[in-house]
Amino acid sequence: MKPENMKELEYNSILEQDILDAMRKPHPIYWLALFICASFFVLGMITWVIQMLKGMGIAGINNPVGWGVYITDFVFWVGIAHSGTLISAVLFLFRAKFRNVFNRSAEAMTVFAVMTAGLFPLIHLGRSWLFYWLFPYPNQRQLWVNFQSPLVWDVFAVSTYFTISAIFWYVGMVPDLAIIRRFTSGIRKKIYSFFSLGWTGSLKQWRHYTRLYMFLAAFATPLVISVHSVVSWDFAMSIIPGWHTTIFAPYFVAGAIFSGTAMVLTLIIPMRKIFRMEKYITVDHFDKISKILLFTSLIVAYSYVVEFALAFYGGHKFEESHFLYRLLGDYRYLYWLMVLCNVILPFTLFVGKLRRNIPYLFVLSLFVNVGMWLERFVIIVSSLAKDFDPYNWGIYIPRWPEVFITLGSFGMFFTFFLIFTKVLPILSLTEIKEEAAE
């Protein structure tokens, strides 16, 4: 935050300097981190290739549990993506200024997370090499895709989501790129000037710009809700007890924002430390964002309760026995761990002190990430493991391909993010300036 007495120009140039420092030549540790992430990424990719060559069977999925870790990862990453849009778009509409320090990296997170998520539907296909059959184009026999299938909805939702959030991210960045351009030289200058589209900051550019940003935010908000609703409907549209329940859409949306916000914390807190951004990203900001965490956690908790309460209220044999299974069955430990991570721990944020205790928030955010991953896993797997016909009951235990590919996905995500921190401004300069000026 700008100290009162400081001159605007001075503040702005300091800000710019700080951001540029962050983009200076990386520390060896950075390279190490990058290398580790990248190699995980490669490992995951290799595993995928092996799986394609040998067959799905090398993974642990089976009959009846046809969806396992891959779909869990998909939902998890799409979820991560969400808070990016929430923070940048929704909070923008609500004129919540504290977003300005988060939104750039949050949006970056969104884009990368969607890219990562986008891989999983392909990975889990029995015939990954035919993934393009899912796209809306007519095949040789003039047959289109089945627009009734939730999976096709996914294709539309996720691709739209990616496009819009990419545009949103880029548009927000253009003025900042223009600033970076100013401080760079040589080929880098060329690149930055190209991507800043010859930005000058003239009124003509600004007045349309502000509108555009508003509209994009206005689009992104319902979009983000629709996307995770669609993801949730992948399950809710089925008739499997534990999947087929109406509250899934809001439940998943809240969950997504919940996990996403946690991921923002997981990323921002170290970043703030490493790049010495304490000046700009203050404790108040964390206080505010952890309120979002708390709020979404409340919604999630509400959904948990309603799900179970109504299962017992309805007294329908399949529903009831399924939820009992979830509580006490093969996956009970995961379930209770999930409750701990998603409900009990976040509720500590009612305590104002903890909301402002950054190390605590960091640890908590990690727990929440784990918890939300488990939530998806438990929902997906336990519901399939025991459905209608007792003869078909079985259980699912992941095997090495799932593990490696999941690690790979984290590798991919963090590789991208690390690169981002070095080549792009990690704070939204313009917006911070604007805020400071008021």
Partner: protein, 344 residues
Amino acid sequence: MNLSYRNLAIVSIVVIVIIGLIETVVKIGGDGNLLLLLSFWSALIQGPVAVAAAAEVSRGKWAQPMKRELLAFYPLILFVALLFLFISFQMDIYKWTEIQHRWLNKSFFISRNFVLLLLSFFVAHLFARASLQQKKSSQLVAVLYLFVFVISQSLIAVDWIMSLEYPWMSTMFPAIYFMESFYVGLAILALMAVVTLRQKLGNKVEVKKVMRDAALFMFGFALAWAGLYYGQFLVIWYGNIPWETSFFGIRMEYSPFKEMMTLIIVILFIVPFVGLISRKAKESIAVVSFVSILVLIGLLIERLFYILPVLPLNAFWLVIEFILMSAIFWLFFKNREQVLRIDK
């Protein structure tokens, strides 16, 4: 007409007695009357308070100027609670009473709902006091009230309405229900802003701002409402499991329910969405008040839509009961200073 706090109390007790008599002594065939009355007004009464609480929690400037107006209705929660007791005389409207189980059994049904309403009244009272006195604790109490609000509205949804068609159930139902209550809360906020503007009370700019914000939120809620409603419908439609589709089955096959359905969607979604999309509209008194009133009507129709297919209603007595309720409602609004006096 201006009444002292005591007189207000007396009037409301009288009204309770009258309605009670109508329900117990008179009632010709209108099994659903009381349920409709309660399910509609409870939303109308708990909603505004919840809006106030939300404003408190978010420290948002947006509703502060109208806080007193919003809080004026909290005593009516007690009113609803008392009226609810009359339901115990007509439990036979619920088919599940034939075979009762651990959750759905008469005594537990009455007690839990009554207690919860009382609780929400009590918390509302605390909140009103704390917030009017700008106590530190006001935020905390506000959160507390929101909890109670969500729980009691959800319970109302499940117990009062959903159990009419046991074993039909939808996990989305309670969520829709309390968010609708919040939705009408906003509508009432907007209306009160309009009224104050008409009466040239308060700071014009601020109040106008309140109205615009209320309109903005209504716009948002219209979208959200549509989302939830569609979400619930789609899942049931797609799943196509007989015991689940039955609910929408009857409501979409026969008149007047199917017309009602369309009407609800038009009123609670399309009108607010189209009407309030532009900034100008959000600022025009006419539009906002029109939309807000529609939303209230929409809610009424929606409640009808739930109850009518199951229970017969008696129009005449229903009208009378509604007139009485609106009168009380208006009285409390009118004499808000009296109501809120004790909180000073």
